[in-house]
């Protein structure tokens, strides 16, 4: 069990996309679109194939907690600080690379169609491949610093891809916002990392005797759990580490209060939204928390915070999602909301459930985004749902695949989302380590969110695909599209923009095969992925426990559990104390079943409400507050951005720097000049006055001598 092995293939998983990025970045400009697409997809395909190969090759060992290292070189070594460029494959990272590469591959394929004709085709795929490299590095890293490399790397790619349409001011703003907000999170992450290093003397996850490395998790496992008090947050121990790292997660995974970048990030091309801002990157926070589960489980306060923030975000984003008209914004808030779910799961100790939701979410949310992309392309780059409607007949494949995603996210049984969401709600309900009443409150929040999810997703489907066509004529559209800020921009170069190709022409139509095939594949995933992790209770009831929760079973060795005794895990990292979770007192199949039924009811109810409501009244005006996203952006701007800007300009620069410091410096010069100017008047030019000065000097001097 959990012996350290080597697996040199891991490097190829990350290096293949890197190579693709390098080739495309350096030479892509002169390549044909076909070649570019081929290179981009094939490198990801290589990663995917190897991921699958490695996974199946080692699945047994992995399930038993084995780890496979791939040491490339020592990156930084100073004194007792060491960071390797080394990869590790354990069950957690194995699952991650599987769905990441898989989903990513299909999104790449989709994108080859979606981006067709774009001037920056090569650039786009270079970024996308670079993103794959970063994401896989993040997942496969065997230490926190390398994870941070991937962490920042995906942030960079996100930045580049959000700002892909660099002629558009809003895209650039969104890109910068994304990067900066992520940096705020990284700030917390970095400090947490340093604190961890300060305590454990290592930033590696696991022991690796071959390299003489001791892991931080091994250290954490041996620590006593922090008490469940607010003061633990500031005590500088494990709880502090966990909270700080969670700050990083809130940035990357768009949680309150740092979620604001994600909706804006929809400025990027839709495949990007699908890949980065739905399926993979944004779940990095969840990955990190799960990865550090051995720390979190020792820090109940931090767990509690994670759960609260997760739940709050889930509800909060869901409400906003209800009020959006932009199809991608709806999905964006939906993503935030679902991420909140995942954190809720982590927060209540159900890491596997969280990861499971990541897994299923990757499929259905990628599907939904790609579907929306297909729609947007179909209606010629229109994202406002008010100008859609009745698209079902024009884009049947898109509709039906999205239909699968819709049901999945709403939590209709059989569909993937059902299993994961249900599991989370159940785990929340029976959560330990936090006050029971809080567990119930969280559950209620989760349930309400589930209801709202079903409602707004139904709204999306209804408004977009059903009902009357509201697609404006070309004339109207042109009018509606005339951005006020564009009118005065006299100089418009032959630029690159989203509106360049296939603009404003003809009725909506179905997307080409290269785009619909990925939709279908992902739809299949959205439907069936959930069967990998049928909750135990459900399984017990339906199949008599014959179908095990593959997912949980597989992930188990990589996840630590609340209350695991330090000594139990003394030898290894997150030990597979299988019994811990299941031996919980509150757990009973009946209750689980009951809750499952309840959640089904919620899902069905939500869909019902949505259908009833929006079929009749698709253009229902949502509350202004929701439409305006609670004015959070404005509040941030007024409370943070503007004060800093104004303060820096008017106080720091103009007053402190120029007036005080420079004023002092120049003042010294002026002072010297003034003194010099005064002293020169001793020199009256009058010989007699000089005599007087000499006499005075002599008198003083003589006095000093004879006194």
């Amino acid at each position: 069990m959990n012996a350290a092995h080597n697996e040199t293939l891991l490097a190829i998983i990350i290096l293949a996309p890197l190579a693709g990025a390098a080739i495309l970045g350096l030479f892509g400009k002169r390549m044909s679109e076909r070649l570019i697409g081929l290179i981009a997809c094939s490198t990801v395909a290589i990663s995917a194939i190897i991921s699958f190969y490695v996974f199946f090759k080692h699945r047994v060992e992995l399930r038993d907690g084995a780890k496979f290292f791939d040491y490339l070189f020592t990156w930084i070594q100073v004194g007792n600080f060491r960071a390797d460029f080394a990869l590790v494959l354990d069950s957690l990272s194995a699952i991650y690379i599987l769905f990441v590469t898989f989903v990513a591959f299909w999104i790449h394929v989709f994108a080859t169609g979606y981006m067709r004709g774009d001037k920056g085709y090569w650039r786009f795929f270079a970024y996308l491949n670079l993103f794959m490299f970063s994401m896989l590095t993040l997942v496969l890293a065997d230490n926190f610093l390398l994870m941070f490399v991937g962490w920042e790397g995906v942030g960079l790619c996100s930045y580049l891809l959000i700002g892909y349409y660099f002629n558009e001011g809003y895209a650039n703003d969104a890109a910068k916002k994304a990067f900066v907000v992520n940096r705020i999170g990284d700030f917390g992450f970095a400090i947490g990392l340093m604190l961890l290093f300060w305590h454990s003397g290592s930033i590696f996850y696991f022991n690796d005797p071959a390299r003489g490395i001791s892991g931080a998790f091994n250290w954490a496992m041996n620590q006593a759990a922090d008490p469940f008090t607010a003061s633990a947050i500031f005590a500088g121990g494990l709880t502090t580490i966990a909270v700080l790292m969670f700050v990083g997660a809130t940035g990357k995974s768009a949680q309150i209060p740092l979620y604001v970048w994600l909706p804006d990030a929809m400025a990027g091309p839709t495949p990007v939204s699908a890949l980065i801002h739905a399926a993979t990157m944004v779940t990095a926070g969840v990955y990190m928390v799960s990865r550090a589960s051995s720390i979190y489980t020792k820090a109940p306060t931090a767990m509690f915070i994670v759960a609260i923030v997760g739940a709050a975000t889930a509800l909060f984003a869901a409400t906003i999602g209800l009020g959006q008209w932009d199809i991608k914004k709806v999905l964006a808030y939906s993503t935030i909301s679902q991420l909140g779910y995942m954190f809720l799961a982590c927060g209540v100790g159900a890491f596997t459930a969280g990861i499971f939701h990541v897994f299923t979410h990757a499929f259905f949310k990628a599907l939904l985004f790609l579907g929306s992309g297909s729609v947007i392309l179909g209606v010629h780059h229109e994202q406002d749902m008010r100008r859609m409607g009745g698209l079902k007949k024009y884009m049947p494949i898109t509709f039906w695949t999205m239909w699968a995603g819709w049901l999945a996210i709403s939590g209709i049984p059989i569909f993937a989302g059902f299993f994961s969401k249900d599991e989370i709600l159940y785990r929340t309900f029976i959560a330990q380590g936090i006050p029971d009443v809080w567990a119930k409150v969280l559950w209620v929040v989760g349930a309400i969110t589930a209801l709202m999810t079903a409602i707004y997703m139904t709204r999306l489907m209804v408004v977009t695909f059903l009902g009357k066509e509201r697609i404006p004529t070309a004339h109207e559209e042109a009018h509606a599209h005339a951005h006020p800020d564009e009118s005065h921009q006299a100089v418009t170069p032959p630029g690159v923009g989203p509106d360049e190709h296939e603009h404003h022409g003809g009725p909506p139509r179905e997307s080409p095969r290269v785009m619909t095939v990925p939709l279908i594949v992902l739809a299949i995933g959205a439907v069936f992925a959930g069967f990998l992790g049928i909750p135990k209770g459900l399984s017990d009831v339906l199949t008599g426990g014959k179908v095990p929760n593959y997912f949980e079973r597989f992930l188990e060795p990589s996840i630590a559990h609340v209350g695991a005794a330090p000594h139990a895990a003394a030898e290894t990292a997150p030990a597979a104390t299988e019994s811990a979770e299941h031996s919980g007192a509150a757990e009973s199949p009946t209750k689980e079943l009951l809750l499952t039924l309840l959640s089904i009811a919620i899902a069905v109810g939500g869909i019902g409400i949505g259908l009833a409501w929006f079929k009749r009244n698709p253009l229902w005006q949502p509350p202004r507050l929701l439409e305006q996203k609670y004015h959070v952006d404005e509040a941030y701007d007024a409370a943070i951005v503007q004060p800093i800007k104004v303060g820096s300009t008017n106080v720091l620069w103009r007053i402190i720097d120029q007036q005080y410091i420079d004023g002092f410096v120049n003042g010294m010069g002026t002072f010297a000049k003034i003194i010099g100017g005064l002293l020169r008047f001793l020199q009256t030019g009058l010989a007699r006055s000089y005599v007087a000065i000499v006499v005075l000097g002599a008198l003083v001097l003589i006095y000093y001598f004879i006194r």
Partner: protein
């Protein structure tokens, strides 16, 4: 007796000296200074410094001061020349400065008051005593030979200098 003589001469010297600075006309100042020099010469005699007393009269009063008078007459500053009364403030410094200087001098000198010293001329009254022409002359050509010779350079230089500055243009 000696003290009376000293006091008389001292008062004379101080009086004429003050007159030097109180006179507006440089001519009278110069004449007044001659009086001071003469008083000093007499004082030198009381100190048995006959040679110095003599050249005080001959060289100083006789030659140097005459040169002064000569120049004063030569330049013949018109009396009517308006006196520019700038910087009068300096005049007011005179009293405090003079007071301070005198105070300092007497602070130093009063330490000598209790030092009883018998003048050498009261003991040694030979014609080779200090102050006689012999003694001065002897020293001048023995111990003070070099300074004496160097004064020739000084004088030569002064002659050249005075000539350069004072001669008329075009010479």
């Amino acid at each position: 007796m000696e003290k009376v003589l000293f006091i008389v001469l001292a008062v004379l010297a101080i009086g004429t000296a003050l007159n030097v600075i109180f006179q507006r006309n440089p001519l009278y100042s110069a004449l007044s200074l001659i009086g001071t020099l003469a008083s000093l010469s007499a004082l030198y005699l009381t100190l048995h410094a006959q040679f110095i007393a003599a050249i005080q009269i001959v060289v100083y009063a006789g030659a140097i001061m005459v040169l002064f008078l000569f120049v004063i007459m030569l330049l013949n500053v018109p009396k009517t020349q308006p006196v520019v009364e700038k910087h009068k403030a300096l005049g007011f410094l005179a009293i405090p400065f003079a007071g301070a200087m005198i105070a300092e001098a007497f602070y130093v000198l009063k330490t000598l008051a209790d030092k009883k010293i018998t003048p050498a001329f009261a003991i040694d009254t030979t014609d080779r005593a200090v102050g006689t022409t012999w003694s001065v002359g002897y020293s001048l050509f023995t111990q003070y030979l070099l300074p004496f010779e160097v004064t020739s350079v000084l004088i030569l230089m002064a002659v050249v200098g005075a000539m350069v500055l004072a001669r008329r243009e075009g010479d």
